[in-house]
Amino acid sequence: MRVVIAEDHALLRDGLTRILEAFAFDVVAVVDRGPDVLPTLLEYKPDVAVLDVRLPPTFTDEGLQAAIAARRQAPGLPILVLSQHVEALYARELLSDRRGGVGYLLKDRVSDVAQFVDAVRQVAGGGTMMDPEVVARLLDRSRPLDVLTAREREVLGEMAAGRSNAAIAGRLFVTEKAVSKHINNIFTKLGLPPSEDDNRRVLAVLAYLDS
């Protein structure tokens, strides 16, 4: 699987490269500056890109901007955005094109190497991975999606974190069938049209972020 990495700190750049290569990823390009990100992504069209939010020269959010721009020009290009802090606002911006293949994780998550590699694979496969921190913060909010039951909100949170039905079932100690029933209820209540597409999951998560 071909990967592009954008990270300005040499220490983390080397760490990411080492981890991904240890798990048989092919790191085809590594960039350390914001302006280089977009051309590199469009040139290599990798299977997945791992981008840092804050990059030189302005040290603001050029990584995030590059991700959004790249997905505008190459729709659905799988991108995993890493940051030292997470904001629901950024998550919403990343998801706003309503396609899958997006991840947004705290850099801390990389230290659980197996889970991180799994996340990269999921994003590459078109999944949506939101950091538990984003999810938790939204769950803490005072204005929940009132149409959903407490259980359905829980399931939605798990979906936002990028988990499959089986994984959700395991975590909530229910059967997979129950999970898919909850999910269908969520789709119905949020008015998302039925389709075979994974896209509906993204839309549900987006609704969740927008709530």
């Binding site: 220490l11 760490g15 990389v110 659980d112 190497v113």
Partner: protein
């Protein structure tokens, strides 16, 4: 020692007499200025002329008044400028300009001063000059008399002079009068300055307005400086310790994955992790020192500056009577100002020796930092000094720098601050 005192007294007297000559000359200028001002006022209704004349005449009067303020300053009577700041974007000529001038009470106080100021200046100035002049006359009377042979009616108590013996008496009398004249001259000058201050100093309202203007500026500067400082800290944390900790997690995570497959690599990874963790700690320590040095918290300004001096490459002595603790914000501002200055000394001066002296008297903390380097430092160049000045200004502190080419460079800072609290005399009382 006595000789020095006599010389000082003589110099003071002569300076005062010179200043008296200046005062008389300047006082004369007041009369035409008075006339000009009245004329331009009368002509103001005659639109074109008055509007053109008034700003120019006012500028001249202010120039003259500023001169009087400066002269008063020489005699220990500092007088602040009372004028309202010029509104931004004001045309140099026109009604707006005249309005700004005419609504400023200081304009009218200057005007009110012109005549009394001139009369007082002339009267006091003439007395200042007359006494020493008469003294000199007494001293040179006899030689002049002998040389010119003219008719001299009398001098001092001998009136008229009737014999050569009486003529000789004029010498000691003249010397005494000259001495008296020189002795009282500084007091007369001071009296003149005090009289001028009645008119030329800002009124209470003007003083408050000046203060508000100054506080507005320093407050904005302080807020800016603080925001920049916080941003710097955020950056340092983000790029420093936080990044190291993330990297540490990655390394340990990878080691965990490889522990069964590749023990040799794992050992290397763990060594790397240990190194990263100690680097992260070092960076945190540096950062903390930049925010509030622990030694400053523990020992106050005196201890912190001594600790700093020990770490410099240039031998630096610290002379301080700052015992006890100052208010925390002042202490911190003073410390960073000293630290910044010493960093500059180390970087740019080429000095072989530096000193810091810190004295806290009468509610003012006075800091002096000097070196024997090459001098020529320009306070306008570089942001460090300007930043320092702003930081001090937030506490009504001031900074001045003297750095002639070839050195030495001396930076003086003054910070008003409340007297130290006695509770921590312990730390400084023991050594």
């Amino acid at each position: 020692m006595r000789g020095v005192e006599t010389r000082d007294w003589l110099r003071e007297g002569l300076r005062a007499v010179a200043s008296g000559i200046l005062a008389v000359a300047l006082a004369v200028l007041n009369f035409p200025l008075f006339v000009l001002f009245v004329v331009s006022l009368v002509l103001t209704p005659v639109l074109g002329i008055g509007l053109m004349l008034l700003p120019a005449v006012t500028a001249l009067i202010r120039l003259r008044a500023d001169l009087a303020r400066r002269v008063a300053g020489w005699h220990g009577v500092p007088i602040a400028r009372p004028y309202r700041p010029k509104p931004a974007g004001l045309a140099p000529i026109g009604w707006g300009h005249c309005k700004w001038i005419l609504t400023d009470p200081a304009t009218w106080r200057d005007f009110a001063w012109l005549l009394p100021g001139a009369i007082a200046g002339l009267a006091i100035g003439i007395v200042t000059l007359a006494l020493p002049a008469y003294g000199v006359e007494g001293i040179v009377l006899l030689p002049l008399w002998m040389y010119l042979g003219g008719e001299w009616s009398g001098y001092g108590v001998n009136w008229p002079i009737e014999s050569v013996g009486e003529g000789f008496l004029s010498l000691p009398q003249g010397a005494a009068i000259l001495a008296l004249g020189l002795a009282v001259a500084p007091y007369l000058r001071r009296f003149d300055a005090l009289f001028g201050r009645l008119f030329l100093a800002p009124t209470r309202a003007a003083e408050l307005r000046l203060r508000v203007t100054q506080l507005t500026v320093t407050r904005a500067d302080t807020v800016d400086a603080q925001a920049a400082e916080l941003r710097r800290i955020e950056r340092d944390l983000h790029d420093g310790a936080q990044t190291r900790l993330v990297s540490l997690g990655m390394t340990i995570g990878l080691a965990e994955e490889l522990v069964d497959r590749d023990p040799a690599t794992v050992r290397k990874l763990l060594a790397e992790a240990r190194e990263t963790s100690s680097t992260a700690l070092i960076e945190l320590r540096h950062l903390v020192r930049g925010i509030h040095p622990p030694v400053l918290a523990e020992r106050g300004l005196d201890g912190a500056v001594r600790a700093l001096a020990l770490t410099l490459r240039i031998p630096t002595t610290v002379d301080s009577d700052v015992t006890g603790r100052l208010e925390t914000p002042v202490e911190s501002a003073a410390y960073f100002a000293v630290a910044e200055t010493l960093t500059n000394v180390q970087r740019h001066s080429g000095a072989t020796f530096a000193y810091v002296s810190m004295h806290h008297t009468g509610g003012v903390l006075r800091l002096e930092i000097g070196d024997d380097g090459r001098g020529g430092a320009d306070p306008k160049r570089g942001t460090g000094l300007a930043g320092m000045e702003r930081r001090l200004a937030a506490f009504d502190g001031t900074m001045t720098m003297s750095s002639p080419p070839g050195g030495p460079t001396i930076v003086t800072m003054e910070l008003p601050c409340a007297s130290s609290s006695p509770r921590t005399m312990l730390s400084s009382g023991t050594d």
